[in-house]
């Protein structure tokens, strides 16, 4: 028989005497001389680096003024780059830069996504550290080595692929090559563009450069997918793919987008492999398979020597525009990655 609930005891807790108000004691932390010297000098170095780095950015930005004074706003719409006639504009290189980076991304994105999934969810646990190391190692391979490889090993095959695509899909402006597709690749009619030195082939080298970066960002996020949710999906009878589709991919969305954007930022600035491969042509055209394209970085590397002071500042402005593009993509990528569900603290 439950009795009446036990009466709560009526003792009221009395606080301390309220005459004096509690005031938090002010703690004055007095750093030792050693600490003050340390903090001071470290701060000084930090400020020095801030000044150096900011002044580089400002220096580049300031160059836009003489450029605009000299060439006017037409600088951004003029596509030709004729230093001898002082007709200079970055419309073509801007389009070319974006084209090369975009095609590189089209090649690298599926490979990165699938490889990241392979490492995080398909590969045997024993192999995983080796694979991760291999991807890191690939990130350290100099760009010029990939440039050489594409130039001498891939290009002869890639031109066939480009020819095939333009033959069957040439009705799409993107894949059109302004030449007679029935001519053999090695014997183009003179005066017509060939399949070599195109944005597509340069993009293969750039894709090799950005693949490790995109893959490692994606893999890192995938590997943080909650094990409990994965096991729950398995326990419900899911296959490996259904686990990935329902748990890993939604969890890793921020990593997929962020990794891709970071890779895009890298692709925009890639220079050396692009210079080696492309045949430079300052034309705005959507035909990525056709010979001849130009990127901002390749323009800088080829045009700096004969540049007059005005043209040098034009090059610097082009570099600044490139910097702004990479900065924008990197910032968006950083925001997206940090917004993801992951972010476990490392506090003990």
């Amino acid at each position: 028989m439950p009795g009446p609930p036990p009466a709560t005891s009526g003792t009221t807790l009395r606080g301390p005497v309220d005459d004096e108000q509690d005031v938090p004691r002010k703690i004055v932390a007095k750093h030792s001389a050693q600490d003050r010297v340390f903090t001071g000098s470290v701060t000084a170095v930090g400020m020095l680096v801030l000044v150096i780095v900011t002044s580089i950015g400002i220096f580049l930005g300031v160059q836009a003024k003489p450029t605009l004074q000299h060439y006017g706003w037409g600088f951004f719409t003029e596509y030709r780059w004729l230093p001898s006639q002082d007709i200079v504009g970055i419309a073509a290189v801007l389009v070319g830069t974006i084209e090369v980076a975009a095609v590189a991304l089209v090649i690298a994105f599926p490979l990165s996504l699938l490889s990241a999934l392979f490492v995080s969810d398909w590969a045997p646990a024993r192999l995983r550290p080796t694979l991760i190391r291999l991807i890191d190692l690939m990130a350290a391979v100099p760009g010029i080595v990939f440039g050489l490889w594409v130039l001498f090993i891939i290009e002869p095959h890639a031109t066939h692929v480009a020819h095939w695509i333009s033959e069957y899909f040439g009705w799409i402006p993107l894949f059109k090559v302004h030449t007679d597709v029935h001519y053999p690749i090695w014997n183009q009619a003179p005066g017509y563009p060939s399949y070599e030195g195109s944005a597509f082939i340069a993009a293969i080298a750039v894709a090799m450069m950005i693949f490790p970066m995109a893959t490692s960002v994606m893999r890192e996020v995938f590997s943080e997918a909650p094990a409990g949710e994965k096991e729950a999906a398995l326990a419900l009878g899911g296959t490996r793919w259904s686990v990935v589709r329902t748990v890993v991919l939604p969890f890793g969305r921020s990593g997929i987008i962020g990794g891709t954007m970071l890779a895009l930022g890298r692709a925009l600035g890639e220079t050396i492999s692009v210079i080696l491969i492309i045949s430079q042509a300052f034309k705005i055209k959507p035909n990525v398979l056709e010979s001849g394209t130009a990127t901002i970085s390749a323009l800088i590397a080829t045009g700096y020597k004969e540049a007059t002071p005005a043209q040098l500042s034009a090059l610097l402005t082009a570099g600044f525009v490139l910097f702004l593009m990479t900065l924008l993509t990197n910032t968006v990528a950083a925001v997206i990655v940090s917004r993801g569900r992951s972010g476990a603290g490392t506090e003990i």
Binding site: P142, G143, L316, T326
Partner: protein, 369 residues
């Protein structure tokens, strides 16, 4: 005792075969795959190979190795999906198709990477086998000369000097800035972090152009190794600062608090707790940063000038470096010079690999101790 139990059990319907005591129990290996799965895979590989050979080579108007490979892969996917669909639910079919894709993608990349390394080494070997490649420079050597004269020693020395100067500038500044960002903190440190992170986006060619404009055009410096080193440092400083910052930030805050609780000051905490804890990670990040500098070509095109002779002085005369040597060799169009370029590329790859192994070694030191 045991016989009694066995007798009792014998009257019950047998649940499991009686355990024979003589044989030790062996853990039965469960295989996620059945032999039927394996046969399905083998069958689709063989079947698709035959079919695609027939269709691709004989019927359809296509040719080429690459095309055949792509065609075969598509036919294989179709066969594999079809064979699986005979007696498996749709979920399994989709899983197998996706698995085939997920396995194929890294294989393609591995093939590409392997082909890069193998072709580079195979092409460069002809120049590398001559010992003078490592001891001579290219002064007085024509690009078409035999491999037994001339070499890339000047480029190796140049890379060594330029990267050393760049590291000597960028590494201390980068690490101290990282210490400032993560250990001192405050609003200003946040600003520094934002700016440094922004500058990691600076393309290397723009860093090169900046140094070229300021140092060579405006201050009338000669094109020299020092200018190249400065360009590399401008490129590397934000990268190193940021990488170090990331490493320092993952040092657990509890360690710092424990250090403060024991009465240590800020400097003592950073010097005796934070940096030693982060040392392996820090070393790895910095070595990888150096590896990136070693392979960087584009700022060097603008700043260092390509020489053909040995030059130990970074402040006077052009100084060659390995990436630049490769670049000029390959753009020369002279087959023998190209081979030398490949030889230099192999040296570059070996340097990067050595730095990478060093980084692994340093990182491993932590897990052992």
């Amino acid at each position: 005792m045991s016989t009694l139990i066995t007798e009792e059990l014998a009257e019950l319907p047998p649940l499991a075969p009686p355990v024979v005591e003589d044989e030790p129990e062996v853990v039965r290996r469960t295989r996620p795959r059945t032999s039927e799965d394996d046969l399905t895979l083998v069958g689709s590989v063989v079947g698709s190979l035959g079919t695609s050979w027939l269709l691709y080579e004989e019927v359809l108007p296509f040719s080429g190795k690459f095309g055949f490979f792509v065609f075969w892969y598509l036919v294989f996917l179709a066969f594999y999906a079809g064979l699986t669909a005979i007696n498996r639910p749709r979920a399994v079919v989709v899983d197998r198709v996706v698995t085939s894709l997920v396995v194929a993608a890294p294989s393609v990349v591995a093939l590409a990477l392997g082909s890069t390394v193998v072709t580079t080494v195979a092409k460069g070997l002809r120049a590398l086998v001559h010992w003078n490649f490592f001891t001579s420079d290219m002064s007085g050597v024509r690009p078409s000369d035999a491999y037994s004269t001339g070499g890339a020693a000047h480029a190796m020395v140049g890379t060594l000097i330029e990267v050393s100067i760049a590291v000597a500038i960028a590494m201390p500044l980068g690490v101290i800035t990282a210490v400032y960002m993560s250990e001192v903190g405050g609003a200003a440190a946040k600003l520094v972090r934002t700016v440094v992170e922004a500058m990691t986006a600076l393309p290397s060619i723009v860093a090169g152009l900046f140094i070229y404009t300021v140092l060579i055009r405006n201050l009338h410096f000669p094109t020299c190794g020092f200018a190249a080193a400065l360009a590399l440092a401008v490129m590397g400083l934000p990268i190193m600062a940021r990488a170090s910052d990331v490493v320092l930030r993952v040092v657990p805050g509890g360690l710092r608090e424990a250090s403060y609780a024991l009465g240590a000051g800020k400097f003592q905490t950073v010097w005796k707790v934070v940096l030693p804890t982060a040392r392996p990670g820090l070393a790895t990040a910095l070595i990888l940063g150096i590896a990136r500098m070693v392979g960087e070509t584009s700022p060097l095109i603008l700043t260092s000038g390509a020489s053909t002779f040995m030059n130990w002085n970074p402040f006077r005369n052009p100084m060659n470096s390995l990436p630049l040597y490769i670049y000029s060799a390959v753009s020369s169009g002279e087959p023998r010079y190209e081979v030398r370029g490949y030889g230099a590329a192999v040296v570059l790859l070996v340097i990067v690999l050595a730095l990478f192994l060093l980084a692994r070694l340093v990182a491993r030191g932590r897990t052992r101790s």
